[in-house]
Amino acid sequence: MNNDNKINDFVVRFANVNGTGSASANFLFTKAIFRMGIPVTPKNIFPSNIQGLPTWYEVRVSEKGYLGRRKGIDLMVAVNPQSMLQDVKSVRRGGYFLYDSSKKLHSEFIREDINYLGIPLMEMCNAAYTDARQRQLFKNIIYVGALAALLDIDFKEFEGLLAEQFKGKEKLIPANIKALTLGMDYVKANFKYPLEFKLERRDLVGDSIMIDGNTACGLGAVYAGATVAAWYPITPSTSVVEAFSDYAHEYRVDPVTGKSNVAIVQAEDELAAIGMVIGANWNGARSFTATSGPGLSLMNEFLGLAYFAEIPTVLIDVQRTGPSTGMPTRTQQSDIMEAAYASHGDTKHVLLFPASPKECFDMTVEAFDLAEGLQTPIMLMTDLDLGMNDHVSPPLVWDDKRAYKRGKVLDAEALDKIEKFGRYKDVDGDGIPYRTIPATHPTKGSYFTRGTSRDEYAAYTEDSGAYQYNMDRLIKKWNTAKDMVPAPQVYQEKNTNESGILFFGTSTYAAEEALDILKENDIPMDAIRIKSFPFNKTVEDFIHSHDKVYVIEQNRDGQLKSLLTIELGINPDKLISVLNYDGTPITAEVILRQISNKFASDSHIQKAKAV
């Protein structure tokens, strides 16, 4: 840990028991720092459980605006006896360990190389409050108050946040202020404060917001005009549809009749959820589902139907740690291969890779335009880290002039003008046929949608030529998609290095930080961020113009690397995997260490190891 810069650069980790009300106290801490204009990133590390198991909340503060996770805990707030041994061990040398000193700390928790901040949280709570629930809840607020003194949090930010939180229930505010003050006063009376690392007000977050990716996806679906959502609860995707439901019912209800311009069904399983989405899209409504790995596995068969029958479909996959049930509350980017080639037979699907809540919003909207534009499933590949953790993000923006792109849909007037409607006919030469919505015209445009092979006029056929023609047209459509999907972000105007790094999704924060560190150490690298699959020419050119490309991803098997190899015919030796798959979000340190290890013979890169 580099201790030169002690202002606005540290990590605080809270060790709590699940279900004790710690989440809102910890969020109060994070939000106060955000309100001080300082970039901050919280990560929830929670169990697949409702009450009683250990849960952690890790907050990184970064003057430089690095929003990825960082290794090394500077200050541990340990209020969970269950995990205390592990918590003591995880503090960096010279760091701080804040604990409840109502009981004496057992000798096994004593380390010589860290500093202890004992605060009798339970005793203070018992003295100040009589209600059992209050005693539990305010213990959390007391330690936030202690942190305010230790880290120099501006107290008026707490006052502002509490006033907003308890609007309409103002009588709850004084008790919270009292708890904060108790903690703060205890620190002032007993310790040297503030600590050597602390906060200073800045103006670094501008008009940014702090929001989680799932909420942004749900909002995106509202703005995109989705009217039918079908889903089955599964962590970590559940809050996507919950957010969609909340906003849709807030903004799409007729004040007179109480009726809403939305239909949301909690399906019996993921098989049904995706079936409903396909049925609704077939019938002309914008419809989507949200799921995670196990749900995506179940949806495979229907995705093949949507691909082959060419029905717009939007699926938001909030990835978690697989395989099988895996670690349901940990993050990973491990559904890439499954999503890209979902279902039997020759299939390929369009994937989008958001890296921030703003992109979750923008790409969800884009997904609906693409689904209808290409008449195929579009999968938004987000993950638990992005979906469920709050992120500092640019604000969400909507252009009121933006019209929904409904793709090639024939209305009654258009049908009257054509002699014979061919549902699967490549009229424009781009592989994308025209479709009709049921009930458009009394005598024209009806056809039979099916997963069996058919000719250009949607009539069943087992003719090899007709089948192959259709499969080839689907590839033509795939090639058309390459220039319709979001283009990659290239970090340099001109490639200047022999090596490059390639990343996508939530590895972006850590990768950008690693790039900066490499640059500071005079080992600059070219970089590209993939935003979608299929890969376009820019991706291909980037790889071809470098000797080696490090592919950063959060799975064991290097799934994106495989995809690059398969789709672009790249020599696999040229692509070097940098992998993080322990279920926690990737860090810049992991990237730098793996790059330097894999490039051990290169003395330049060795320098990076030192940082």
């Binding site: 005009g225 969400l396 009930a439």
Partner: protein, 350 residues
């Protein structure tokens, strides 16, 4: 393969209120085996849609996978059709219905499709009171894979290879009753006089309308010892009633014995005239219908006709309180909250 029918029709075929002749409701030529019960059911669907003056494009026909699920290609060629995946037509129908509440949704499935992989989706569609007609063409076997027993094959029924089915059968009509379906009927593919009015009444029912039609498989399950052969079914059919369907309060003229007519009024004023044949059975009473089914089963009879009707349940859009205007007709101004609201949402996240 689908074949086109010969185009020639008698020039003076009767027309319905919309000016369409019966052939307007036909589909492409069936590719099922000659004598297949499913073709008779398709003919009844054509007849019912013609008599009900249905605009074909305002009806969507949906199916799963199997012989029965092929039939939507053989009727109503001016309707949009959707041949989905095995057993999962109910979910596709649910989505389609949510998108546009104004169409008639006509689902066709088989016993292999509904009583096995589709069981979950079937009962959940019933549970949600999805506003659709759901016909099962029930032949007790898997035709497309050459005659394996299905889950509706009766215990002790003998298949073509001479094997006796050792498993209990799933009774779909009883299941629909149990799950709360508002319209439950059972019929026989060979009894067009009964089936056509049942389909017509189902089209008028608001909510889930289920018709289980015994439809013999002439190729794989028409042998001696099978309980779903033409001969067996004809010998064991016990009708609850004869049935007339009278759309929207037209004059009722019936000739029957006094005391056996029960008029059942539907939500839009249409009437079902039931000429009751079975005693101690009340079509408006779910428990009575279930008893009648159990009694018939014990006697080895196949009870046919309208078994139960209750139109008081809320269908899915009522339950969700969705706008009257179909969701698929909505545009940006009805769906997108706009930039000003987004600014205020952003402010809430600062």
């Amino acid at each position: 393969m689908s074949y086109l029918r010969p185009k020639f029709r008698h020039p003076e075929l009767p027309k319905n209120k919309l000016g369409y002749t019966l052939d307007y409701y036909e589909g492409s030529l069936s590719t099922l085996c000659a004598g297949c019960g499913h073709d008779s059911i398709s003919a009844s669907v054509v007849q019912a849609a013609f008599e009900m003056d249905i605009e074909p494009h305002k009806l969507a026909k949906l199916s799963g996978i199997g012989c029965s699920s092929k039939t939507p290609a053989y009727f109503l060629s001016n309707s949009h059709g959707f041949n989905s995946v095995h057993g999962r037509m109910p979910s596709v129908a649910t989505g389609a219905y949510l998108a546009n509440r104004d169409l008639i949704y006509f689902g066709v499935s088989g016993d292999g499709d509904t009583a096995s992989i589709g069981m979950g989706q079937f009962i959940h569609a019933v549970r949600r009171n999805l506003n659709m007609i759901y016909i099962v063409m029930n032949n007790g076997c898997y035709g497309l894979t050459k005659g394996q027993d299905s889950a509706t094959a009766d215990l002790g029924s003998k298949n073509k290879s001479g094997n006796t089915n050792p498993f209990e059968s799933i009774d779909l009509a009883s299941l629909a009753l149990e799950m709360g379906a508002g319209f439950v009927a059972q019929s026989f593919s060979g009894d067009k006089r009964q089936l056509v009015p049942l389909i017509k009444a189902a089209m008028k029912h608001k909510g889930f309308a289920f018709i289980n039609v015994i439809s013999p498989c002439v190729t794989f399950n028409n042998n001696v010892g099978s309980t779903k052969s033409y001969d067996y079914v004809r010998e064991h059919v016990e009708a609850t009633s004869t049935i007339d369907f009278v759309p929207e309060m037209a004059e009722i003229t019936t000739s029957h014995q006094e005391g056996t007519l029960q008029k059942v009024k539907m939500h839009d004023g249409s009437l079902i005239n039931l000429h009751k044949l079975a005693n101690d059975w009340d079509p408006m009473d779910r428990r009575s219908a279930m008893n009648a089914m159990q009694n018939a089963k014990e006697k080895g009879e196949i009870l046919t006709g309208l078994l139960f009707l209750d139109e008081s349940g809320n269908e899915l859009h009522d339950i969700l309180n969705t706008s009257d205007k179909p969701l698929n007709k909505m545009v940006e101004s009805e769906l997108c909250p706009g930039s000003e609201i987004l600014k205020s949402i952003n402010a809430g996240f600062r």
